[in-house]
Subunit: 328 residues, 2 copies
């Protein structure tokens, strides 16, 4: 029997979950829920209903795990606790500072409903969190470094688009090579924000806009660009759409630690991702976490979980015997 | 209350566990058990008893987790099931092909004794198994690559030492750069044994030995060297001891996979270790697994586990709240 998956929200994440669920041998897409007019939405999987969000409750017995594909700013803080009372749920909540609060809210709702809620699945938080947690447990004496990119930051691209005179923009976050090199050499460098990442911006101006003024405003924007070396390129909208319309991302988590009676042995653990599609990789993680949520629920567990709480084998469609024989 | 750790066997692994346990804030070394004359063994930790292996049973109530530091060829297949009936145990059993059988033996004994046995902890099997299992669960459509080195292979060094005319030897396993490059580029190469690794040997000859004959015998040795490009250097014993007495190792696990409606998006996951001391890194993993074993035991669980069955948070001395606030 397949695990019946529901998707709430059909943006980049929802579409990615659809692909991941269809690629999984043990899952089937049961329905897509939307706040838009269901009749206006055409999904890729034939025969799967698109349902109004207002009818979600009536699907209580027809969905094993609901994957929430809304945003972390306003959707998930409300939706995940709300639906965790009714369904096993999985989300990609990624506002790091608010995870403890989100965890408590989802935990309460999921316990009351006797369901499992897995939050903050994806790559950061998610796979990068796992890399950090494992490496810290193994090398207690050491230092963590996380680099992002090369990849598109949608938040920074949006920030540029809000600048007066900007028609469209794409921003790439790029790790600084010399910083990576120093970390890989076990030098345990102290790195400022500027020393870790470069920000490269491709900007399309509106007609008659003042390029120098736009560039200055971008470079000096607090939080987003002021603390970085920022490169601004002005290009045509045609070039932007042709060369910069995909959403690659990735990054590297390092732990540089030491062991030995006199801490004389250095060890470097490096976990790296190079992703052509940020949303499709994220949703591949969400689908694997949905499988784990279903297994924990079947065991009678309830409450909130993160990937740090999930036995790795639960994410795999393979049996324990297969994993031990072929992957261990 | 600290987790009371016992060590069985005091070779490279036993010494490494001692260091790791002393570095852990929540563990204490309770005793070291040896098949040698206990009086002949001086350990590094003051005040900790060295006890004859024959007296292990009398320590049943004074040890929370026993870490087995014997070899995979003959020690662990016997010892781990034997002691799993009496203690929570952790081992580094690394004969991949025999893991399923070892698992069954330890599982039976541990269930009967109401204890936890965690087997095959270390980096391969261990951290590399985790890297493979996570990456396979996330990217079901893809391909795995495991490279070892640059590092000392003790099995290959021993094989060279058995050649007539060889006094001493050290063998380094080295990944082939062009193969790493092809995998990193997402080319999904088919790689032969020879295309993946080079074997570099540093050999000290006995007086009067025939260098050409020794080199030929090494190069043509089946299983160990015949399928590889092998480099043989003859050096003095002084040079060997000066330049080649440490035990560095490491390696890289890749998964190269794709997602998308038409599999149009490539993703590369890379997990890499660069270790100054193979035994000390392995034993750092063993210590973290001992912590997890104790937690599972405290929950009332019993039976055999591998790292694939352990929630990552159980390996850390930090609480769930701390992990969520700082590492997630």
């Amino acid at each position: 029997m397949s695990i019946r998956i529901g998707i709430i929200g059909y943006g980049n994440l929802g579409k990615g979950v659809e692909i991941a669920v269809n690629a999984a041998p043990d899952m089937e897409l049961a329905a897509v829920f939307t706040r838009r007019d269901p009749a206006s939405l055409v999904i890729k999987t034939p025969g799967v209903p698109v349902v109004a969000a207002s009818e979600i409750e009536t699907w209580k017995d027809r969905i094993d795990v609901m994957i929430l594909c809304g945003g972390s700013a306003t959707d998930l803080p409300v939706q995940t606790p709300q639906y965790a009372a009714l369904f096993n749920v999985v989300d990609s909540f990624d506002t790091h500072a608010r995870i403890p609060e989100h965890y408590e809210n989802v935990d309460r709702a999921a316990r009351e409903g006797g369901k499992i809620g897995v939050i903050s699945c994806g790559w950061d938080p998610g796979m990068f969190s796992l890399a950090r947690a494992y490496a810290n447990a193994i090398l207690p004496d050491g230092r963590d470094y996380t680099f992002w990119g090369k990849g598109v930051s949608q938040g920074h691209s949006d920030a540029i688009r809000r600048v007066k005179g900007v028609k469209n923009a794409r921003q790439y976050t790029i790790p600084v090579d010399s910083a990576l090199e120093a970390v890989r050499n076990g030098e345990l460098p102290e790195l400022t924000t500027r020393q870790k990442h470069i920000r490269e911006c491709f900007v399309v101006l509106e007609e008659g806009a003042d390029a120098a003024a736009v560039e200055k405003e971008i470079r000096e924007m607090p939080n987003y660009f002021a603390d970085y070396d920022t490169i601004v390129h002005f290009i045509s909208e045609e070039e932007l759409l042709r060369d910069h319309s995909s959403l690659p991302h990735g990054g590297i988590v390092f732990r540089s630690g030491s062991t030995g009676v006199n801490k004389e042995h250095k060890h470097i653990i490096e976990y790296s991702l190079k992703l052509d599609s940020n949303p499709e990789f994220t949703t591949s993680v969400l689908a694997a976490c949905a499988r784990a949520a279903f297994r924990m629920y079947q065991e009678g567990q309830s409450g909130c979980r993160t990937m740090l709480d999930i036995p790795p084998a639960y994410l795999s469609e393979k049996s324990g015997e297969e994993l031990r024989a072929h992957l261990l």
